[in-house]
């Protein structure tokens, strides 16, 4: 019998998996300003107390920058054992013009990244603990994408 794996988001309410992976933000009902992560109150000084509504963010954007970490971050980061370098990408969302950080998706070679490369949101495994997996949003190059000017 296959082992049952419980899959849970590593953080509640910041991204969705179905129908396709996407980040969840908040939008001000007065200013239309969009915020990520979807925590706290509006941050537009024109309407600091405005009501916010949940909004699904663009699934695509372009690489703003990236870096590969060659040493494990200290706890609470659940570094893999044995340790493998991991890459953090900063991607500017197409519609919102907002730069959002995320881990690079499993199996993507950071050597293929370029500033301006088109990326798409995905979901991967942050860590496994027995029959429990914590999921996290990740960035993956759009198949066949070309870099555009930074």
């Amino acid at each position: 019998m296959a082992e049952r794996v419980e899959r849970v988001p590593a953080v509640e309410g910041w991204f969705r998996i179905e129908p396709e992976p996407a980040l969840i933000g908040r939008r001000g009902r007065v200013t239309g300003s969009v915020f990520f992560p979807p925590t706290g109150v509006g941050r537009n000084p024109a309407a600091p107390f405005e009501e916010l509504e949940e909004v699904v963010l663009s699934r695509r954007g372009r690489v703003w920058s990236w870096t590969t970490n060659h040493y494990p971050a200290p706890p609470p980061f659940p570094a893999r054992e044995p340790f493998r370098p991991y890459t953090v990408a900063a991607v500017e969302l197409a519609a919102e013009r907002m730069v959002v950080l995320g881990l690079l998706a499993e199996g993507v070679d950071p050597a293929d990244l370029r500033v301006g490369l088109e990326m798409e949101l995905d979901v991967g495994v942050l860590c496994r603990d027995g029959g429990r997996e914590e999921l996290i949003w990740t960035w993956r190059p759009v198949a066949g994408a070309e870099a555009e000017g930074a």
Partner: protein
């Protein structure tokens, strides 16, 4: 130009890894600063401590910790935390008291004991704390952010790892004879290139260490200094502790995203430019008036960003300024004659105060082998996470 607040005395404890309580270091710096000012502890009318959050309650109440360690003498205390900008925020509180006439002599002190390796978030499961979450969800260390900015510089302006290494070579040379610096040895470009990659493109020798250290500054009102016959003191021309203006598109430590800019006009002056801009405006000075600058070189690449943010050159020209030797001792505008964080490592609450110590020695002409000839105006700039700006301009 503002001349109503005087830097009467400065003092430091050498940076290093000493493994002692932070208050011990602070007391050494205070003793030096008081002696430098020719004052007794009983002369101090206000104590402002820059907090360290890694040392439990004594760190959170730094002002009181130092006041008690020196022996209670009744002076009011304040403690302030603004991450790496804590020192400037503490100076700001002291200055405001002096300008309001609430006191004539204020002591400002910051000290830290740091663990080895990456700075980490506070202990416990802190799911509402972005500083905890960035480690938990992304493994985004401080060097991760420095590296994102460094690669962006490479992509936009053609900076190279060799340029970054040159910053380290310069600062190592500057700090060679600084008795307070932790690292006092020449570093070659080859040594930087051979050091391990931490967060590419940045290598170990591109990134500042974390250190123990302390710095103290005694501020007095100009009238009080004049009454005591102090000759040509160094004066505080301006102090800026501004925050960003929305929307700030840059992903700042420890956050997950910058502000969205669609539909919101980006601020005319980006945050890091605004930090120095506010100080220039208060001082009635501009970048062309500077003799010397101390900038927050958390990484070598970040020092280049600061050249542009404080207006030493236009965007994209910092590498040329560096390569031309303009920012080395003897150049047009020496940057980090102290050796900077490259030679000190960061001792968070002490750092902005250490910058003011260095500028004070430079303006007095007592900086020894690292003296900037004829220094008259100095600027120190720095930034603390969670949106804390820090800029001080002194003149003599």
């Amino acid at each position: 130009m503002r001349d109503d607040v005087v830097v009467a005395g400065v003092g430091m404890h050498p940076w290093g890894k000493w493994g002692r309580p932070f208050a011990d270091y602070g007391l050494v710096a205070v003793r030096e600063a008081l002696a430098d000012a020719g004052l007794e502890w009983r002369d101090v009318q206000l104590v402002v401590g820059a907090e360290t959050v890694r040392n439990g309650y004594p760190g959170y109440v730094a002002g009181a910790t130092f006041a008690q360690a020196l022996g209670w003498q009744g002076a009011p205390v304040a403690s302030v935390y603004a991450a790496c900008a804590s020192g400037a925020a503490a100076l700001g509180i002291a200055r405001a008291h002096l300008l309001a006439g609430l006191c004539d002599v204020a002591l400002v002190v910051g000290a830290d004991t740091t663990p080895k390796g990456f700075l980490a978030p506070n202990a416990g499961e802190r799911r509402d704390d972005p500083d905890w979450l960035r480690f938990r969800l992304l493994g985004a260390t401080n060097p991760t952010y420095f590296a994102l900015y460094a690669r962006r510089r490479m992509a936009l302006w053609g900076a190279t790892p060799e340029d970054f290494a040159l910053v380290k070579v310069k600062n190592a040379r500057h700090g060679l004879h600084n008795p307070y610096a932790r690292y006092r040895a020449e570093v070659s470009a080859e040594e930087v290139a051979a050091s391990p990659l931490v967060a590419d493109p940045l290598r170990l020798l591109d990134i500042c260490a974390t250190s123990d250290g302390a710095a103290a500054v005694v501020l007095t009102s100009a009238a009080w200094a004049a009454a005591r016959g102090v000759d040509r003191p160094v004066r505080l021309a301006a102090l800026s502790t501004v925050t960003p203006t929305f929307p700030n598109p840059l992903v700042e430590m420890p956050h997950f995203a910058g502000d969205a800019t669609l539909g919101d006009a980006p601020p005319v002056v980006p945050f890091r430019d605004a930090i120095a801009r506010a100080a220039y405006e208060e001082a009635g000075l501009g970048p062309e008036d500077l003799s010397v600058a101390e900038v927050y070189d958390l990484s070598t690449a970040l020092e280049l960003d600061w050249y542009e943010h404080i207006g030493l050159c236009k965007e994209g020209e910092a590498e040329r300024l560096l390569r031309d030797g303009d920012t080395q001792l003897g150049g047009r505008i020496p940057v980090n004659p102290s050796g900077g964080l490259a030679c000190f490592g960061e001792a968070v609450p002490a750092q902005a105060l250490a910058q003011v110590c260095e500028l004070t020695w430079q303006l007095r002409g007592t900086a020894g082998p690292r003296q900037v000839e004829g220094a008259r105006v100095g600027l120190a700039v720095n930034q603390g996470l969670f949106g804390h700006g820090s800029c001080v301009i002194v003149h003599r």
